[in-house]
């Protein structure tokens, strides 16, 4: 966390706060909310002999607070969302972040957000190719859904021709990686003390991005462009005090993205497509320029009111493609996701999502189950199971082949 921008932002916000307080009649009381989670993880398989510091069971607690205040008829607002997790074993997973610390102002024809914030782009379920503004908080979960807050200045215009968002992104957040006791993780520990960058400005490189979005009846289309430091690092084998480690290297990248969804009565058709120019590592661990194309496409079909109940059953199918083939830095270069989504529509909001991602080039498949329900007014429970099966020894998945896990989250909301 860079201290200077935060201090500046704090000063800026306190000035705004004073202005707002002066206009008492427009001031809306700020509101604090919070959620706190106890998480238990069980890894049924013993770790690899060389990773004997890893554990089969681990517990952690997480807390997210949120302060929200709005005034001037909701045209000005402030959001402050600190997050912290304490993990029993993994020092890297014990971490804190400002998920959000931003000021937003709505003008007649556009809106502005300044501060640390989060943005989501895209439509697909299995992976989020076009979504590149925020860094992944990977120690939270390997599904890539958890993100770090990103410092940004965002201007958004909503007109007849659609929504145009412009981003200036000062300050870079490094991806988080599990520590030596953490699971699941690569065979080697990722040494974030030796992180390197293509840009000499390192984490102070100022990135920019833009996105246009529009919808015409049943079709929604987004076009995006990003120029700056890649959120995804290359992991370069190296050593630290004679022990082998992986060092994250963040190249510069230019990425163009398209996301589209067609919504009909029962069907959702989805497509995400990206083209990225960046650096890659060749077979001799040399950096070379690379351009690649990747896509995710598929559908979700929903059977409503199955078996004369209130429950809905959704069928999800997506194809994941990456033209780098075996050189792909993602796990998915020619894979298919098949999923079942069950929503009971009951008072406890019981839901489950079962998914299998199958690699069409070999026999590997990843299985995941996410289920959740509310068991009291302020409490929810969720269960997550991930399992990696028939993993080839040469596969990028080999490192986590023994890291199947079951996770239980009990959350209390305040």
């Amino acid at each position: 966390m860079q201290k200077k921008p935060v201090a500046l932002l704090l000063a800026f916000l306190s000035i705004l706060h004073c202005n707002a307080s002066a206009a008492q009649d427009n001031w809306l009381e700020g509101e604090w909310t919070a959620e706190s989670t106890l998480q238990l993880r069980h890894f049924p398989h013993d770790p690899l002999p060389q990773n004997n510091l890893q554990h089969n069971n681990s517990a952690s607690v997480a807390m997210e607070l949120e302060y929200y205040a709005a005034w001037d008829d909701y045209n000005k607002s402030l959001t402050f969302t600190p997050f912290v997790r304490l993990d029993q074993h993994d020092d890297e997973r014990s971490h804190a972040d400002l998920r959000e610390f931003s000021y937003q102002q709505v003008f007649t024809r556009w809106e502005l957000r300044v501060g640390i914030s989060k943005v989501f782009w895209g439509v697909t379920e299995s992976q989020h190719l076009v979504d590149v503004i925020n860094q992944t908080d990977q120690v939270e979960n390997i599904d890539g859904e958890d993100k770090f807050g990103q410092p940004m200045i965002k201007a958004s215009m909503e007109r007849d021709w659609g929504i145009l968002d412009l981003f200036i992104l000062p300050g870079f957040r490094e991806r988080s990686f599990q520590g030596i006791e953490g699971r699941p993780r690569p065979l080697l520990v990722v040494d974030t003390d030796q992180t390197s960058y293509e840009s000499s400005a390192k984490q102070r490189h100022i990135d920019y991005a833009l996105r246009w979005f529009n919808y015409l009846g049943d079709i929604e289309i987004g076009l995006s462009y990003f120029n700056g430091t890649s959120r995804e690092p290359l992991l370069i084998p190296d050593s630290n005090n004679n022990s082998a480690v992986l060092i994250p290297y963040y190249p510069q990248m230019q990425q163009a993205g398209l996301d589209a969804q067609l919504t009909t009565a029962e069907w959702l058709w989805k497509l995400e497509l990206i083209a990225r120019d960046w650096q890659a590592m060749d077979n001799n661990a040399q950096l070379i320029d690379q351009r690649f194309v990747a896509l995710t496409g598929g559908f979700e079909y929903t059977f409503v009111g199955i078996a004369q109940s209130a429950a809905d059953l959704g069928l999800v199918a997506e194809y994941l493609y990456d033209d780098r083939d075996e050189e792909a830095t993602s796990f998915f270069q020619n894979d298919v996701l098949l999923g079942l989504r069950l929503a009971m529509n009951d008072t406890k909001s019981s839901e489950a999502l079962l998914g299998v991602i199958h690699d069409l080039d070999n026999q590997e498949f990843m299985l995941s189950l996410e289920a959740s329900r509310r068991f009291a007014h302020h409490w929810t429970a969720s269960l997550e199971v991930r399992s990696f099966n028939r993993v080839d020894n040469n596969s990028p998945l080999a490192a986590i082949a023994r890291d199947d896990f079951i996770q239980l989250d009990i959350t209390r909301y305040f």
Binding site: E111, E158, E220, T302, G305, T347, H377
Partner: protein
């Protein structure tokens, strides 16, 4: 729709009209039913926009209850279904979730959901107007905007309901995916507002009864109930929906019902 499909539809409807017109001939009862629906619609036209808070109490057969709280903003759209933005306040795990709906009489609604944890706006399929709203006994179609075109009508009789003179009108959903075969509505003769509705399921068995109470008049014209009580006769469950903080003509515009406004909804 492309021209070819349009052409197909016109031919098809022409055929239908020719073949079926004897069946479609309006009886007096149908004309009277439609007239009542139109009058009710006319009396509720011109509210422009309103905001309100809603609290639901869901009860199961054992008497256990759970609470839901939402705030809603609605923009009147003349000649089509209204636009509405709903913000979920309780239970706390879905706090901050918001939905934006452009409702339509006969077409599926356009609907978006904002998920605050992911900051994600999802366009969702909205065919399922018959599904339960937040696990309650209210289906989406029970609480969405009421348009004349959503039903065909038949006047049944006059009847006194708890001392109120009512028209009893039967209506048949025009939407093909509706969860009902028919509804019987008790319409207050003086104010043309619904006092009670019986809902019949797809097998034409009595499923639910909705009672309206605590009507208040806003802007000297628009009647809104404080309480809507729905009982499910088949499961014994019930939902009591209480409205408060009604405000009309608050100055909402189309811009308050956009994707960006959905993302900032609090």
């Amino acid at each position: 729709m492309n021209r070819l499909t349009q052409l197909k539809y016109s031919i098809l409807s022409l055929l239908l009209v020719t073949v079926c017109s004897p069946l479609y001939a309006q009886t007096d009862a149908e004309a009277r039913g439609l007239e009542i629906a139109k009058e009710a619609d006319k009396r509720d036209t011109g509210f422009v926009d309103f905001t309100a808070s809603m609290k639901m109490e869901l009860k199961n057969q054992q008497g256990q209850s759970s609470i839901r709280e939402v705030r809603a903003q609605t923009l009147e759209v003349i000649g089509d279904g209204d636009k509405s933005l709903t913000i979920f306040d309780s239970p706390p795990d879905i706090r901050g979730t918001a939905s934006l709906t452009f409702s339509h009489a006969l077409q599926p609604d356009e609907q978006w959901l904002y998920l605050p944890a992911l900051k994600r706006v999802k366009r969702i399929s909205s065919k399922n107007k018959s599904g339960p709203f937040m696990g309650s006994e209210f289906a989406y179609e029970d609480i969405s905007s009421q348009e004349v075109e959503k039903y065909t009508y038949k006047y049944l009789r006059d009847e006194t309901l708890d001392g109120i003179d009512c028209f009893v009108v039967e209506r048949y959903p025009a939407y093909e995916h509706s969860g009902y075969t028919r509804q019987v509505v008790w319409v207050n003769k003086q104010e043309y507002r619904p006092e009670k509705i019986d809902f019949y399921d797809r097998k034409n068995t009595l499923l639910k009864t909705l009672n309206y109470s605590g009507y208040q008049q806003y802007l000297n014209k628009f009647w809104r109930p404080d309480v809507m009580h729905m009982v499910n006769h088949q499961t014994g469950k019930s939902t009591t929906l209480s409205w408060s903080d009604y405000q009309f003509k608050t100055g909402l515009t189309e811009r308050d019902f956009s994707r960006n406004s959905l993302k900032r909804a609090r």
